[in-house]
């Protein structure tokens, strides 16, 4: 019987009882063939490998392709309990890549290198790109400081009335006239990707009393923070990110608080170079205590950037406290230096422990989000919007009803403010009458109101148009349902 060969590697099987002088050579050749399979470069004879149930393939090196190039690397984590499971699928069912392992809840990360993007394709086209997607991840409205319905870019002096400045951004001041707020104050170039910023300028060198506090703040409605589940055991971590620039350097402060002001988380951020935009990121563990008005139209989370806070309202950075805190102990006081500036934009508060790219929303969408809290009709400022036209129905010789259906339903029953009536007019079939006042005497709803227009001249019976002139002067009224 002659020598035979094995099925897969074609190893020589010396004839039993023969090959007296050649069997050793044949065996050595076979051993060399087997050894070559395990060449470090993976250049050995192609083989199949069956890793049976309960058996493992230990992989420390790389998987390379047919050209010898790296295809897959593995990275070992000491004491790892979670891993990835690949599953194929039958006809009509998608294969899956699944996070699996010992933990009850396991996240899944796709990590690009450098500025590389993460993209998903369907039918050959991108349907997802992680660097520009995840719309509405930002809980802050007007974080890019684009909308300024009230002031149209004009400066606002902060007062104890805690005036709103750019849309959704409220100035807080324990003493009037210590700082101003203006869209694009100082006309510096915003950071790349932004066209606007909120600029605060100190109006004096103000010493802080223990209870003094100066801030720029935004209150997030409880409906928009409900999923963060703060005040419960499932409170989610959030990350705050923003671009900031100041004429001062040092450690600045702010805080996250609840609307009731009995929960506070002071935070700090360093500005290392004066008059230079710097991007900051702060991760905040969700608060498992306190009341956060989740799922209501009341105030939920309040974000505060301190421009100066006295000791009474300053606390330890990076920790929750059950008290009224607006900043971190020892933080820089912007109002302490006359003329000091504090500019900010790109403010984003999002779920998770990582700051992601800014959530750019269409202008119309951002405006509509702002209008849930404030909307103005007519013209504001010399560069304001055009005038608006309404139906004006005759009530009596001195009063018209002017029904208004808001551009966006409001958060709650709003207040009405007559800003100016200069240039407003009623035109009917028979007459043109200058309007001298807008007012409200019956309760509006969150969707509609009937404003009253009055005049020193008598109106004639009939219907007509009430219009506010656009152009060169402020001539407007507004509705506010701000928090």
């Amino acid at each position: 019987m002659a020598d035979t060969t094995t099925t897969n590697l074609l190893l020589t099987k010396p004839e039993v009882g023969a090959s007296t002088d050649t069997w050793g050579t044949k065996i050595n050749t076979d051993l060399d063939s087997i050894d070559a399979i395990f060449a470090a470069a993976g250049t050995g004879t192609s083989v199949g490998l069956n890793i049976g149930s309960g058996k493992n393939l230990k992989l420390v090196g790389d998987v390379i392709d047919t050209n010898g190039n790296e295809l897959l690397k593995v990275s070992a984590t000491a004491s790892a309990v979670n891993e990835v499971t690949l599953a194929n699928a039958a006809t009509g069912v998608a294969p899956t890549l699944t996070a699996s392992g010992g933990d009850t809840n396991i996240g899944f990360k796709l990590v690009s290198k450098g500025t590389g993007e993460i993209t998903a394709k369907v039918n050959g086209s991108d349907v997802f790109n992680a660097s520009s997607s995840f719309g509405f991840k930002n809980r802050i409205i007007n974080g890019a400081m684009v909308i300024d319905q009230r002031n149209a870019g004009a400066s606002v002096t902060a007062t104890t009335a805690n005036l709103y400045t750019l849309d959704r951004w409220q100035s807080v001041a324990s003493v009037t006239s210590k700082f101003t707020v203006q869209q694009n104050a100082g006309s510096v170039t915003p950071p790349a990707g932004f066209t606007n910023y909120l600029g605060c300028t100190s109006s004096a060198a103000t010493s802080l009393g223990a209870t003094d506090n100066y801030q720029i703040a935004q209150t997030i409605e409880g409906f928009n923070s409900a999923d963060l589940a703060w005040g419960t055991a499932n409170a989610q971590t959030v990350t705050l990110s923003f671009w900031v620039r100041s004429s001062l350097t040092g450690t600045f402060g702010g805080a996250i608080t609840n609307y009731s002001l009995n929960r506070g988380y002071p935070f700090t951020f360093a500005i290392s170079s004066a008059n230079t935009w710097e991007q900051k990121s702060i991760t905040i563990t969700g608060d498992t205590s306190g009341s956060w008005n989740n799922g209501t139209n009341s105030g939920g989370i309040v974000l505060r950037f301190s421009l100066g806070t006295g000791t009474t309202y300053s606390g330890t950075a990076g920790a929750w406290a059950g008290s009224q805190l607006f900043s971190a102990t020892g933080a820089t006081s912007v109002v302490g230096t006359n003329g000091a500036t504090f500019y900010i934009t790109g403010v984003q508060l999002e779920k998770g422990s990582t700051a992601t790219s800014f959530d750019y929303r269409p202008y119309g969408t951002e405006l509509a989000l702002c209008q849930r809290y404030y909307q103005v009709y007519g013209s504001v400022g010399s560069t304001g919007t055009n005038g608006d036209v309404f139906i004006g129905t005759y009530r009596n010789s001195s009063t018209l009803f002017v029904p208004v259906q808001y551009e966006v339903p409001m958060r709650t029953t709003p207040s009405f403010t007559q800003i100016s009536v200069s240039g407003a007019q009623w035109s009917s079939q028979t007459q043109d009458v200058t309007i001298t006042g807008f007012s409200l005497s019956n309760t509006p709803t969150p969707r509609t109101a009937f404003v009253q227009a009055t005049s020193s001249a008598a109106f004639s019976a009939g219907n007509g148009l009430v219009y506010t002139n656009g152009g060169t002067t402020t001539n407007a009224f507004s509705f506010s349902a701000e928090l």
């Binding site: 009335a161 029953t413 207040s415 007559q418 800003i419 005497s441 019956n442 509006p444 009253q452």
Partner: protein, 56 residues
């Protein structure tokens, strides 16, 4: 600081107005517990203040 407003429809006073000192006048609904201007008005009342009666 605040003055009640005579309703043009009905008789129950529903609005209080406030001159803001900058030429603007704000009209605040009195039955809007989530309205921050109304909340501020209630605080003003709690401090012992009384609004001016409505004009006849």
């Amino acid at each position: 600081m605040y003055q009640l407003v005579t309703p043009i429809i009905g008789t129950e006073v529903q609005i209080v107005k406030k001159a803001n000192g900058d030429g603007t006048i704000t009209f605040i609904p009195l039955n809007a517990p989530q309205n921050s201007d109304y909340i501020a008005f209630l605080k003003w009342i709690e401090e012992g203040n009384v609004p001016t009666p409505a004009d006849e």
